[in-house]
Symmetry: C2
Subunit: 334 residues, 2 copies
């Protein structure tokens, strides 16, 4: 049974990450983590005839690979938890329709990997399932043309802008013991600091990350020093600096333990300005780079806090601010 600790955190008893896989596009392959991803394509279409179908293909590939690596048939999976940035989450629905697994669609913008992992964990812990899959994806080309401008437009991007990662991550969450344990989850509250600049998502999401990380530390009576790594989703360089600063005001120093997937996935010379973003950013870094390191015991105790910016082009055009949300999972190796 999940044990509620403090205000917002759930400690889980017997929940493990049984398998994981990441699939990415060309630019991500060329980045510093390129060689770690299970699948890395040399183009952006992967043989599909639209960027949206390419994103679905990417998510299907990640899920397929995660299942294959652990020799699991789709019929042995009780639920799929997935979502993405595309309108009506079509990246996930069309990507995963063929598996024939009961499907729980989720929407957490770029926080989706932590949202689906955490929800999957609660289901496993409560006896609702023995083996499920959590997944998400994003694609630079499908996101860019949906949220910003036609790809052909070629407008200049400010330095605070981030680059949507073409990538997907999938993890099998299960009750059968495995090296990596999903020990706790803190689902976050929406934060509204009246940020309205869609080219500065990091600033909109940093307060949410700060709130969720502070809540977890307080709930569990632990401090950043207790963790090998505090990994945020995709704050990028601007949002990361802001997060460290916001927590410092609260008397919490995470500078030594903190890294951000958005900063890690690209090289500075890849022209991505403040770094990577998108659901697939933290998902591919977690499932392609971090979880394998945990399985090898090179990392033993970490917090994964994925951050999302809740908005749409319509809400922004109507003058609404960009809400931030961040969900956190605590992963350990025993």
């Amino acid at each position: 049974m999940a044990q509620r600790v403090g205000k917002q955190t759930l400690q889980l008893e017997q929940v493990y990450i049984g398998s994981f896989a990441a699939a990415v596009g060309k630019k991500e392959k060329q980045g510093p983590l390129g060689r770690y991803f299970d699948i890395a394509f040399d183009d952006e279409l992967f043989g599909q005839d639209s960027f949206e179908k390419a994103e679905s293909f990417l998510q299907r590939s990640a899920v397929e690979t995660a299942l294959k690596k652990a020799n699991i048939a789709p019929q042995q999976v009780q639920y799929l938890f997935a979502g993405d940035l595309l309108n009506q989450c079509i990246g996930s629905t069309f990507g995963l329709r063929e598996f024939g697994i009961p499907f729980l669609g989720m929407y957490g913008a770029c926080s989706t990997m932590a949202l689906t992992l955490g929800t999957a964990g609660v289901f496993i812990d409560g006896g609702g399932a023995k083996q499920v899959v959590a997944a998400t994806s994003s694609h630079f080309c499908s996101a860019e043309r949906q949220f910003r401008f036609p790809l052909e437009y070629g407008g200049q991007r400010p330095q605070s802008a981030q680059w949507t990662v073409t990538g997907s991550g999938a993890a099998v969450v299960c009750s059968a013991p495995s090296p990596v344990r999903l020990a706790a989850v803190t689902f976050g509250k929406m934060q509204d600091l009246n940020v309205t600049d869609a080219n500065n998502m990091g600033a909109a999401m940093a307060p949410a990350a700060a709130d969720t990380i502070a809540a977890f530390l307080q709930d569990t009576h632990t401090s950043p020093k207790d963790y090998d790594l505090i990994l945020t989703g995709d704050l990028g360089s601007v949002g990361s600096a802001l997060l460290v600063q916001l927590l410092k005001i609260e008397g919490v120093s995470i500078a030594e333990q903190h890294k951000d997937c958005g900063v890690m996935i690209f090289n500075k010379n890849q022209d991505v300005h403040a770094g990577g973003s998108g659901c697939g950013c933290s998902a591919s870094v977690l499932c392609g780079y971090i979880l394998p390191k945990m399985a090898k015991k090179e990392l033993k105790n970490l917090l994964f806090c994925a951050t999302g910016a809740l908005m749409s082009p319509t809400s922004s055009m109507q003058g609404e601010s960009i809400l931030g949300v961040a969900h956190l999972v605590h992963l350990t190796v025993e």
Copy 2:
């Protein structure tokens, strides 16, 4: 602990619906269920300056009312489970941001009310929470201009088309005993029958409803006769006829017990063709009309199966079919 029965169903032990409320617009107020809704407005804007903001307002009103009816403060609610049809679920995010409750965004198209109720149930049952809220909404004007045509266009609608309900429903799901119990949940699989007509959503969703209802009956070794009512979300008249027929082929006769929220919410003379649709259709009928009847013991044992069409204008323009999904919750009064 959730007890897995059969292939797809979870029986829950101590999960109740502690409160519920529904808020609707003008056309729904004029319909046959008009007098049952907690809040029914006389226009479509409710004092807001856009239809999207009006939808957010509607969802906030439903949640506020559900909490107020049971004298619950937002701080006493551990999680909000919500989603809607708008791109990036802005109906829910902007509607619910002020509650300061950890937020789990979900996307199930028009199946959202059953998806959020079922997920909430699993969280409560597994000890992850004591009191949560499940909610969703839709708005005719925000949906029409996002999915179909500008409101001013005035094109003719075929007889199989449905009318998006302007409505919201919210339910408090809790572990404290209450007259209505959430006894079981069956999360559904995506069904793809290659339906591509966006003016015939009922046909796209009926196979999903048939699959989920059949799975539940098989898993629990029960038959339609065991229930007072088998209530589908928003198949409308075309999809309802198809559902009854599809199940008949499988040897399951639900004609006597079956009703559909999309058929119930409007009068035939309200010019809605095949009936109501949208997340708010089944949500408002369940929370405004059905749950109060259960609390008064006029209905004692029912299956609520909300159906969703998974697609976007982009996926349809790219030649994709419309996927159906249906989630079911079993509600009882003891």
